[in-house]
C-alpha cells in the first residue's frame, strides 16, 4: 500500500494510485502560527492589518466589516497612508508551537503544509470592500498595481519566515477568485493584475523547497485554470461542480489536479444525512475518475460546518476506493 504522500503523487502525476486520495489526508496543515486568522463565533477582532472581522452567532464564518468606521482603505489613491503591513513576530517563542507541530510530522507519510490566508485578491477587498476593490481596477489601475505589489511583498516576507521556520513540503493557500457561477473578474484583468503577483509568490515557495502548491478557491474559476497552471499551482482545492470538473480533468489533467467536486452547500447543512453525502461522493468519484482528482468537500479546511459531514465523506470515499480500485 502506498503512503498517503506516494498515493497523492501517483494521482497527480498520472501514475498508479492504489486508492482515492481521501480529502485532506496528504496534508498536515500547520495552523499554530503567530498570526490571528479567525475569531470565535459570536465575536469580532481586528487583524494585524487593521481589518475588522465579525462572526455573528449562528453564522458559518466571519466577514470583514466595511462600514465607514471600519473600512481600512478609504481612498485607493492614498493607499500608502492607510495600508501598513504588520511586523510578523519572528521570535523562537512565537513559533515554538508551529515548529513542534512540523517536527512531529512523518514527512514520508504526509506533506508538512504551511497555511496562508487570505491571498492578495481577498486582501484587496478585505481592506476596501469588494465594490471599491473591483472598480479601482478600472478607475485607478496604477494605484491598484502598486497596492498589489505591496501586498505581494508582504506575502513574500511572511513566506521567508514560514520557510525558515517550518521547511514546509507543501503550501495551502487561500484566495477566493469567484462566485459559484463566475470568476469575479475577467481572465484578462486577472492576467494583468493578479497573475504576476502569484507567479512571484508561488515561484518563491517552489524555489525554496516547497514541492506542492495547493490553492483554495471554492468557486467557479474554470476560466482561470490556464493562469493557475502558469503560476505553479499543482492542485486547485475547492473546485465546485459548476466548473464541470470532469471536463477540466480531461483538458488540463497532467498539468494541474482538481480537489473537490463535492459542493459543501449540497452536503453540509443541518439536515444532512450519510446517504446524501454518499450519493454525492459516488457521483464525484465516478464522474471525475482516478487520476488528477481528489474527492473532497469544497470547504477550505479539513472539517465541516455541521458535525459528522466531513467524516461521513471520508468513509464514503474509502468505500468508493474499494469499489473502483
Amino acid at each position: 500500500m502506498l503512503t498517503k504522500k506516494q498515493n497523492l503523487m501517483e494521482t497527480i502525476k498520472g501514475g498508479n494510485p492504489d486508492r482515492f486520495v481521501n480529502q485532506y489526508e496528504f496534508m498536515d496543515i500547520i495552523l499554530e502560527v503567530p498570526v490571528q486568522l479567525m475569531c470565535p463565533p459570536g465575536s469580532e477582532f481586528k487583524n494585524s492589518w487593521g481589518i475588522t472581522f465579525r462572526w455573528p452567532e449562528g453564522q458559518l464564518g466571519q466577514f470583514p466589516v466595511h462600514d465607514d468606521e471600519h473600512k481600512v482603505l478609504k481612498d485607493i489613491t492614498e493607499w500608502r497612508k492607510y495600508v501598513k503591513a504588520p511586523v510578523i513576530d519572528n521570535s523562537d517563542e512565537a513559533w515554538a508551537a508551529a515548529v513542534a507541530h512540523a517536527n512531529s510530522i512523518d514527512r514520508n507519510e504526509q506533506f508538512v503544509t504551511a497555511f496562508v490566508a487570505p491571498g492578495v485578491f481577498e486582501m484587496c477587498h478585505h481592506l476596501m470592500s469588494m465594490e471599491d476593490a473591483l472598480m479601482a481596477l478600472y478607475e485607478e489601475p496604477e494605484a491598484m498595481h502598486e497596492l498589489i505589489d505591496y501586498l505581494t511583498e508582504a506575502e513574500l516576507n511572511y513566506a521567508k519566515i514560514l520557510i525558515d521556520r517550518l521547511h514546509p513540503d507543501a503550501l495551502f493557500h487561500h484566495d477566493d477568485w469567484g462566485s459559484q457561477k463566475s470568476s469575479f473578474i475577467s481572465p484578462a484583468m486577472f492576467e494583468e493584475f493578479y497573475l504576476p503577483a502569484y507567479k512571484k509568490i508561488y515561484g518563491f515557495y517552489k524555489a525554496n523547497g516547497v514541492e506542492l502548491i495547493v490553492h483554495h478557491s471554492d468557486s467557479y474559476a474554470a476560466n482561470l485554470v490556464p493562469y493557475m497552471i502558469e503560476m505553479g499551482i499543482d492542485i486547485w482545492q475547492g473546485v465546485m461542480t459548476t466548473n464541470n470538473t470532469p471536463e477540466l480533468i480531461k483538458k488540463y489533467g497532467g498539468q494541474i489536479s482538481f480537489m473537490g467536486d463535492i459542493d459543501s452547500g449540497v452536503v453540509d447543512f443541518p439536515e444532512w444525512t450519510p446517504e446524501i453525502v454518499a450519493k454525492e461522493v459516488e457521483r464525484a468519484c465516478k464522474n471525475c475518475g482516478k487520476l488528477y482528482f481528489i474527492p473532497n468537500l469544497t470547504q477550505g479546511l479539513n472539517f465541516s460546518s455541521f458535525p459528522g459531514v466531513y467524516d461521513s465523506a471520508t468513509e464514503a470515499i474509502d468505500k468508493m476506493s474499494k469499489e473502483m480500485f
Binding site: Q59, E131, Y138, S186, P270
Partner: protein, 210 residues
C-alpha cells in the same frame, strides 16, 4: 452617431467620466430627458444580459452602473418625481442569518438601473423588518430576498411566507442566491426567481408589468 446613441454606448462601456457631458450634449441637441434615461436603462439591460451570459464580469457591471448614475445626476432636475421610479419601489435585503452582500448589492444596482427606486435593508434582515419596510415605504412593487447559504433557506422561506400572509398587497416577491432554484422559489411561494443580477432586473420588470 447621435448623442443619445453615444450616451448608450458609453454607459455600456462604463465610462463614468464621459457620460455626464454626453448627457448634457444630448439635452442640448434637443433630446428629451426621459428618452435619455430610457437609453441608459436599455444600456444597463444589455450589460445585465452580458453578465448573465458570462461575457462581462462584476467590475464591468459596477462601472456601467456608476456611469449611469452620473448621467442620471445630470437628468434629475429635469425629470418629474415619478419618472425616475415609474416602476415603483423595490425593497431588498439578504435574509436573516446571512451576511453575504455582494450578490445582493449587484441585484440592487441592476434593479435601480432598470428604473426602480431601491430601498436596501442590508444583510441579516429579519422577516419582520422586510414587512415593516413594505409598510413604511411608498409604492412598494417588489420585495427581493437574497441568500447565499444553504443554511439560510429556511429564513428565506419564513420571509416569503411572512410577507405573503402579512395582509399587505401590491408587491411581488423575488428570491435569488447561489442555493436558490426556480423549484425552490415555487415551493416557498415566491412570485419570481432569478439566477443572477442581470436577470433579476428583467424578472422584476416583468413581474411589475404583468
Amino acid at each position: 452617431m447621435t448623442k443619445i446613441t453615444e450616451v448608450k454606448a458609453k454607459v455600456e462601456a462604463g465610462k463614468a467620466k464621459l457620460v455626464p457631458g454626453l448627457v448634457q450634449e444630448a439635452l442640448d441637441e434637443g433630446s428629451a430627458a426621459g428618452d435619455i434615461l430610457q437609453a441608459m436603462i436599455d444600456s444597463m439591460g444589455v450589460v445585465g444580459e452580458k453578465f448573465s451570459a458570462g461575457e462581462v464580469f462584476v467590475p464591468e457591471m459596477l462601472m456601467a452602473a456608476k456611469a449611469m448614475s452620473k448621467g442620471v445626476e445630470v437628468l434629475k432636475p429635469l425629470l418629474t418625481g415619478t419618472s425616475t421610479s415609474s416602476l415603483g419601489t423595490c425593497v431588498i435585503g439578504t435574509v436573516q442569518g446571512d451576511l453575504h452582500d455582494i450578490g445582493k448589492n449587484l441585484v440592487a444596482m441592476m434593479i435601480e438601473s432598470a428604473g426602480f427606486k431601491v430601498v436596501d435593508l442590508g444583510v441579516d434582515v429579519s422577516a419582520e423588518k422586510f414587512v415593516n419596510a413594505v409598510k413604511e415605504q411608498e409604492n412598494v412593487t417588489i420585495v427581493a430576498c437574497s441568500g447565499l447559504l444553504t443554511t439560510t433557506l429556511p429564513a428565506m422561506k419564513e420571509t416569503v411566507q411572512t410577507l405573503k400572509t402579512s395582509g399587505l398587497a401590491g408587491f411581488k416577491v423575488i428570491v435569488g442566491g447561489a442555493p436558490v432554484s426556480q423549484e425552490m422559489a415555487d415551493e416557498i411561494g415566491a412570485d419570481g426567481f432569478a439566477p443572477d443580477a442581470g436577470s433579476a432586473a428583467v424578472k422584476a420588470k416583468e413581474l411589475v408589468s404583468a
